[in-house]
Amino acid sequence: MTNEADAALVAAARAGASAAFGALVDRHQQAVRAFLRRLAFDPAEADDLAQETFLAAWERLSSFREQASVRSWLCGIAWKKAKGARRSWFRGAARDGAYEAQAALERPECGSPEDRLALEKALSGLPLEQRACVALCLGGELSHADAALALGLPLGTVKSHVTRGRARLLDLLGGRP
């Protein structure tokens, strides 16, 4: 269920208030962008698709149903966008994998470069639907039920994908010294 703050912002955005829609973007952009980055690996392409997701959400505000949370609704739009862009996108992701590998080595965040590479490689080895379930649920961004709504999958399938995907990632990371 959508929370009260999101419901109020959606109502104001439907009336044309740009600040309200901007607030919705602020509240959910991190989750949507993180989801797309974990699917696609290239931050620039993922952010471009995330902007397209919010544009589509603005156009479809009237069709949003309060039974779903705003975040799961947005992630559902992002998922459809990702599948639509999949052919050229993932072909590009494979080609740019080497670039991303080098970029991961140079990123000055916490976690060793080898671990980040291992995580990205492990994610790329997951089937697409499983990767999407893990991307949505592993960090607690969405509940299993919300992820099932967003991805259009049965709840049991989502739980299974998250469990197996997490085990696979732990196996690959746990095997490293």
Binding site: V25, Q29, R33, R37, D47, Q51, G139
Partner: protein, 96 residues
């Protein structure tokens, strides 16, 4: 929590975009404005086409001198351009 679980948790948080990103929000709002503009231009173009088709369909029934025809075309163009300017200049997003 095992070492692998701790490592996975740390790496998962590591890859997050910033919690607040004003530039991203601005980019989204700019895309929305561009889409609104395209809708308005399409609406004006559709109206112009509809008027042209209407005028063309009525032409055989009208007895119009050449001079009157020029005046009608000129006035129609001015009205259409004026409506276009007023429509495109109207604020598209509420301030609040």
């Amino acid at each position: 929590m095992t070492e692998a679980e701790a490592r996975l948790e740390a790496l998962w948080k590591d890859g997050l975009p910033p919690a607040r990103d004003a530039m991203f929000r601005l980019s989204v709002l700019q895309r929305i404005e561009r889409r609104r503009m395209m809708h308005k231009v399409a609406a004006v173009a559709a109206l112009g086409l509809a008027l042209a088709v209407l005028a063309w369909s009525l032409a055989p029934r009208m007895v119009v001198t050449a001079q009157a025809g020029v005046w009608i075309a000129t006035l129609s163009t001015i009205v259409l351009l004026g409506w276009t300017v007023m429509t495109l200049r109207r604020p598209s997003l509420h301030p609040n």
